[in-house]
Amino acid sequence: MNFFNRIHSLVIKEFQSLLSTKSGRMLLVMPVIIQTALFPFAATLEVKNASLAVFNEDRGRASVEMMQRFAASGAFTKIVPVWSQGEIEGAIGTRDALLAVHIPADFSRRIASGEASPVQVVLDGRRSNSSQIAFSYLQSVLEVYLKDRAASAGRMLPSEIVARNWFVPNLEYTHFILPSLVAIITTIGTLIVTALSVSREREQGTFEQLMVSPLTPEMIMVGKAVPAIVVGFFQATLILIAAVCIYHIPFRGHLVLLYVAMFFYSLALVGVGLFISSVSKTQQQAFLGAFVFMVPAILLSGYTAPVENMPLWLQHLTWFNPVRHFVEIVKGVFLKDASAGRVFSLIVPLLVIGVTNLSLAALMFRRKTS
């Protein structure tokens, strides 16, 4: 038997163990479908359906007008009228309202006399990000109102910069999430398949049989790598199709470029997965090892929170995180039509991570066989 024949039969065996049971097959497809269907709707930092508590001690025209603007803005689906400071506390505490507006009794009088009128807004600090975003909605509604007042009174207000957004003009979150999901879901699939494949055989005792066969450790590694890469490509393709056909996100870059990058990314993941399985004795250890790598890698990939918000030393450390580079690649190619040069500059770290881990894994396997 030559080199390729041996690997060929090994790959077939690996696929059989992956796809032989119904639950095994289901687990390669179902999570992808469920996650692609649910997460784009869940993972949003936009604030919708928020409710606003209003404590209006002023009965003047200005306060009523301002409240009408807030109610009509669409950012708040529910306005909760309250009648005391204590009720504001209650509404925020029980999460009935995200924000509360308190208009003092002298509000209209102060405006009429040309003084600045402060309006207190209480924000739920337990959800500081959402309440800040909702506060900025209030602010922009107020600005429009002030401009209209100024215009009708013939006064002048500072002009405003009109900003445009490139790549995703309306800042839809789904455009940001789906390309990132391509990277994240394939990470989970590829890593778990490789990390567990060796340790499962070790636990069941079939790994020794493989080792006494004419296969070299490198061939065994290739045999374990191929199915994992195929699984990764398959899952990524599923999500790409969903992104373009169901979510209607325009794919701006070159598909070939994306798949080339995906190959190197899978290689890096396979390296990590095989290294983990080469040092673990049981499936439990391999799985938990993969998990301990995966969670920080995904969380620090720029998907949950931008890399540039991290402290500088941590930003440097993320260079060793393959997920970070691939998230950047998918988003770049998908949304921004990133150039080949840019993509290759991101492939370099993937290659370094892949080669390092594959060599380490090979070393560990060799040590165990000799």
Binding site: T21, S23, G24, L27, P31, I34, Q35, F39, F41, A42, T44, E46, K48, N49, A50, G93, T94, I111, A116, S117, P118, V119, V121, V122, G125, R126, S128, F135, L138, Q139, L142, L146, R149, P158, S159, E160, I161, V162, R164, N165, V168, N170, F176, I188, L196, R200, Q283, Q284, L288, G289, V292, P296, L299, A305, P306, N309, M310, L314, K336, A338
Partner: protein
């Protein structure tokens, strides 16, 4: 011994079984890794890595106007502590930098910047382009540059004796987390994710292994009752989870400086029912799957990912569409996140906590009941 046939629990047997489980936990370095090392790692990541408060935004600046006014506004942009302004050799270079994510937006001062300023039109002679592929950052870029622009104009007006003043001003005040640091609400939420890992992931593997290796059948053939079997899997992992929870809270408070206003009692009550719920999920999955590889994948998808995505610890539940809000109601992590945020930032206020506790009791009953049912089916 005759009476043990009818008795549901023999304390002696249960003690021995729990001791066996405990030994198993401590003999495997990976369970220690997951129970003690992982929580610290995660807290550290959530403490430093997940920051929704933008620190400094990198933007480009391109001025087509060489006048004094344009230079003055450029200087104002550079002075802002929220912006890191970069100059570029050409406009094309700057646009390429935006494509390559080196900058998150750029400002262009138009040729007739100074002349248009004196005319006072509706729109400013300034162009701002933000990187829409990062929606959150794009919004920050817009708000920050606009803020600099507005205050620059007001200063200019003041210099010339023309006062521009806002008639109405919104004054924000935070409750529960007065410094409004995202870390203070993310860390209590992240403890939920850590507890889910210990509760669901670890137990799903452990029990699936017993089925896979056939030691479960051996146990079932012994006089051990179903209740004992369930309890011996729950109690040691419950203890492990509780220790880990206390460790997390201590580390969050003393190492990361997150204020803790609640009590240990509150933590214990909420933690107990949450842990029992996730243990129930883990046990149900492993009893149903009986295979470590599948159980691990299923636990990841059924317990871990929902705890991250659908629990409301980063992504607000009320902003989700109605059907998804419905889905979150059966996810125990949701109730734990909201009570942890309350306990940490508001204190142990039972009036706010009891609805969550009640729901957690419900999920506990559902998932442990499911396990009991699945175990019975396996035994028949």
């Amino acid at each position: 011994m005759e009476s043990s046939g009818i008795k549901w629990i023999s304390w002696r047997r249960l003690r021995a079984l729990c001791w066996k489980e405990t030994l198993q936990i401590f003999r495997d370095p990976s369970s220690i890794l997951i129970a003690f090392f992982m929580p610290m790692l995660m807290l550290f990541i959530f403490g430093y890595g997940i920051n929704l408060d933008s620190s400094q935004l990198r933007i480009g600046l391109w001025s087509e106007d060489g006048g004094r006014e344009a230079a003055d506004f450029s200087a104002a942009l550079s002075r802002s502590k929220w912006l890191e302004v970069h100059a570029f050799g050409s406009r094309a270079d700057m646009e390429q930098a935006l494509v390559d994510s080196q900058i998150r937006g750029f400002v262009v001062l138009q040729q007739d910047f100074s002349r248009k300023l004196s005319q006072h039109g509706e729109s400013a002679p300034v162009q701002l382009v933000a990187d829409g592929s990062e929606p959150n950052i794009a919004q920050f870029v817009r708000a920050t540059v606009n803020g600099v622009w507005q205050s620059w104009q007001m200063e200019r007006g003041d210099d010339r004796g023309k006062k521009m003043q806002q008639e109405i001003e919104l004054v924000p005040r935070y409750w529960f987390n007065s410094s409004a640091e995202s870390r203070n609400f993310i860390i209590p939420g992240s403890i939920t994710v850590i507890m889910t890992v210990i509760g669901a992931l670890l137990t799903s593997l452990v029990v699936a292994r017993e089925w896979e290796r056939g030691t479960m059948e051996a146990l079932l053939a012994s006089p051990v009752t179903r209740t004992e079997l369930l309890l011996c899997k729950i109690l040691p992992y419950y203890a492990l989870g509780m220790i880990s929870l206390l460790l997390c809270v201590a580390a969050a408070h003393w190492l990361l400086g997150v204020p803790f206003r609640g009590t240990i009692t509150g933590l214990w009550v909420v933690g107990t029912f949450f842990l029992l719920s996730v243990l129930g999920i883990g046990l149900a999955i492993s009893t149903g799957m009986r295979n470590q590889f599948n159980a691990a994948q299923a636990a990841l998808n059924a317990a871990f990912l929902p705890a991250v995505m659908l629990s409301g610890f980063i992504y607000e539940i009320s902003s989700m569409p109605a059907f998804l809000r419905g889905v979150t109601r059966i996810i125990p992590a949701r109730y734990f996140v909201s009570s942890m945020q309350t306990i940490f930032q508001a204190g142990t206020i039972w009036k706010l906590l009891w609805p969550d506790i009640l729901m957690l009791m419900g999920t506990t009953v559902v998932f442990i009941g499911l396990t009991a049912k699945l175990t019975r089916r396996r035994m028949e």
